[in-house]
Symmetry: none
Subunit: 464 residues, 2 copies
């Protein structure tokens, strides 16, 4: 609608300034030193929600970081969209690789650089501003609810309980999330699936204190060496995960769907440039997109042992640690995979070391059928504002809460992501293109409009 | 000789008091805050050397801490023994684990407790006092030279150059060192070998920046995973080092020598208790002592990559690092092994990662043949004063300067160590048993006497 366009045009500079205020707050959820700043970020968000026209804005405390709730109800006869997002961010290490202070946002080449610029403050803020736009132009086509958590980056440990305990409050027809990427504004895409996650930490103990590698080396089990041997055995020569039963529940995607997914353009050279690699890597028999989208993986996210400072220290370490995570696809169960992985690591550890495995994080995979009215509405909205129909894509990341929404609230989730793969999520110099930020704010109202129309045409509540 | 015994008996209380003065000086070489105290310790040592009857006592400055030289020349027809030691000490961290001030020595249960008590001020001081004893009783059987450095604990960065530049000054028939341990006064032993060292740091690069393990995981080479695979391949199933050519120059120790080395008592349960391990580990076909003493090893001294903080971070790291060192035995050359290791790591790294290898540290192994007159003299001296012939032992550590003495001066080194394995070297509550201190002072003159006799019986200079 023209009024949406002109409201956006008039106010978008202010929207960016407001987003920058949000980005200034270092809401790092994993580090308890930032506890106060995480709360401060939640409070700032409530101000913006109220200013945008939301009602019943409330901060719900949890055993961890709080959850922000808000709603704008305009009529019982209209469908309700539950917008989910998160206001917490990843740590900034290695901070020396940032070109500027991660919490002092700057705009360069029409991109906003800061931790959280894309993941997820920037994308979340599109929904706050889209609400303002629809309220101010008196054109809100649906009821909207917001549930915005502060623990997404640490695995949403308290969200599932909160959802279960606030079943009525969160009642809705669909969940709408902007926390994923699209291919580009020229080639829009919609993530129809996210992978699940099973994340563990392994601790190996050899001697009970660090030893001199000369006096003892060669006769004592070195936990660093043995951990490497264990990790090396977790992939076979075809780069398949080498844990018995790992693939047992994996959905074999049909040839038709693989063909549809293959329609998303893929530029190998661009992928190499973007990641800085010289050669791709991965499971034999699958394309790069398939390896990321429809196949499970196992990655070492961190490893450490012994002396890691400057120069040489001849230590034979007592301990070796690794953080290992698997991405999961339908119909793998994250608890089952954690069990398989834990048992396997304990089984392959030689008797000369002690092994402990701790579960850090987990969530199930999720896929939205492209026949769902929410997918159709999202696709139509993008077609309207971007001039081209999006292609469906299976994303590689994990948003475990989508499986929770489906299991507890019985509703599907649609991803309307405006990030780009080169946004440097979880990495130094995270950014969000302003063009994407603006297009997101412009597209969201169309989604609500088309979704309301689809539900009205449909039989009541059929979308559940 | 009776006069030696009685001189020692009369003066040993004073010797201990003098040693305590030396131990009061915190000559920590690695910490530049102690630069002045290191120099002060060198000066104190020159006083003691002069007092003991040494001549040409001199402090030679180096680019680091100074070297103390002294000599007592009594005749060109006599052999010359070059005594090597060091007056610098290790840091005292963790200082809270000391039962008293590390630089305020105390005597408890006939042991002297202080940093440097055994390593190496106490053992070095035995030679100063043995000189005094022989000079005062007019019974010095050889010419003696002293070279005492202040940088042993930081890898003797300036000693090799000094030795090369003072070839004539240091001309001698053998080097005598008391900086190692023996099994006990009841079961004397002599270290006949130290292992060499080849220490490198490996850096692997996959992507050129840290990536999101969901968005990219499964399709991009993970340098942590690949480094583990590379390290895992460096040992075979028999725990032998799996690098082509690694064992090519390794001296196969004869069955006779292995039998002799096996005479040193070994208590497996005590070894497990001491290290806190449940099972030993190492190259098949060799005993624990042999794995440490006569076989080369490869150990991971440190490894790091990705996220190593608290909790979960779903990063696919750009970099992975490891510190890897090999202990070497005769006749391995540390530069050749560094080359082999470097080339091998580069060769086994898959094309999808970049690999860099940096040399950090190196030194050649050294073994004194037990047929050498210096070994024979040391063994006979111990037999005389301790009543039992010592067993030869191969130590696992490295004292690279011994190889320098051999290569630059062309002479062998004999270790006449009176420390014990439980002296807490490099650890809190370092100590030296007074009985060992006295026995050391008593044994050293016999070494000189027997060595002089052996050389006289021998053809001139044959011991070189």
């Amino acid at each position: 609608m023209d009024t949406w366009q002109s409201y956006l045009q008039t106010n978008r500079q202010r929207f960016v300034q407001e987003l920058m205020e949000l980005l200034r707050i270092p809401s790092i959820s994993t580090d308890s030193a930032y506890r106060q700043q995480v709360l401060q970020c939640a409070e700032k968000l409530t101000q913006y929600l109220q200013q945008a026209g939301a009602e019943k804005v409330e901060i719900f405390p949890t055993a961890g970081h709080p959850i922000v709730y808000a709603e704008k109800h305009i009529g019982n006869h209209l469908p309700t969209v539950l917008v989910y997002g998160h206001y917490d961010v990843q740590p900034v290490d290695p901070v020396e690789l940032w070109h500027h202070d991660p919490f002092d946002p700057i705009i360069r080449n029409e991109r906003i650089y800061a931790r959280g610029a894309s993941d997820d403050k920037g994308q979340l803020f599109m929904h706050v501003k889209a609400l303002e736009l629809m309220v101010q132009t008196q054109s809100l086509p649906v009821n909207i609810k917001f549930i915005i958590e502060g623990e997404e980056e640490i695995g949403s440990p308290h969200l599932a309980d909160f959802v279960a305990q606030h079943h009525d409050l969160l009642k809705a027809d669909v969940v709408l999330v902007s926390d994923t990427a699209m291919i580009s504004l020229e080639q829009p895409s919609i993530d129809v699936g996210v992978r699940g996650l099973a994340y563990v930490q392994v601790e190996l103990t050899g001697p009970d204190h660090d030893l001199h590698s000369g006096v003892y080396g060669g006769a004592v089990p070195n936990p660093a060496t043995i951990l490497c041997q264990m990790i090396a055995s977790l992939h076979d020569a075809h780069h398949r995960v080498n844990i018995p039963g790992f693939y047992a529940d994996v959905e074999e995607v049909s040839a038709e769907e693989r063909q549809l997914l293959a329609k998303a353009p893929f530029d190998l050279e661009a992928f190499k440039r973007e990641t800085g690699i010289t050669e791709v890597w991965g499971e034999e028999g699958y394309t790069v997109r398939e390896r990321i989208g429809i196949r499970p993986t196992l990655e070492v996210n961190g490893i450490w042992s012994g002396y890691t400072g400057e120069g040489a220290k001849t230590v034979l370490p007592a301990k070796a640690y690794a953080k290992i995570s698997c991405r999961l696809v339908p119909h793998q169960d994250h608890q089952k995979i954690v069990r398989l992985l834990t048992d396997h690591l304990k089984q392959i550890a030689p008797a000369c070391v002690r092994v402990e495995v701790k579960t850090l994080h987990g969530g199930d995979p999720y896929v939205l059928p492209i026949t769902h009215p929410a997918y159709q509405a999202a696709a139509k909205a993008m077609q309207t504002t971007l001039g081209k129909a999006p292609v469906p894509v299976r994303g590689g990341g994990s948003i475990p809460i989508t499986a929770v929404f489906q299991q507890v609230l019985g509703i599907h989730t649609v991803f309307l992501g405006f990030g780009l793969d080169n946004d440097n999520l979880h990495a130094p110099n995270e950014k969000f293109d302003l063009a994407n930020f603006y297009k997101g704010i412009e597209t969201i109202p169309y989604f609500h409009q088309y979704f309301a129309e689809a539900i009205r045409l449909d039989s009541p509540r059929s979308s559940k």
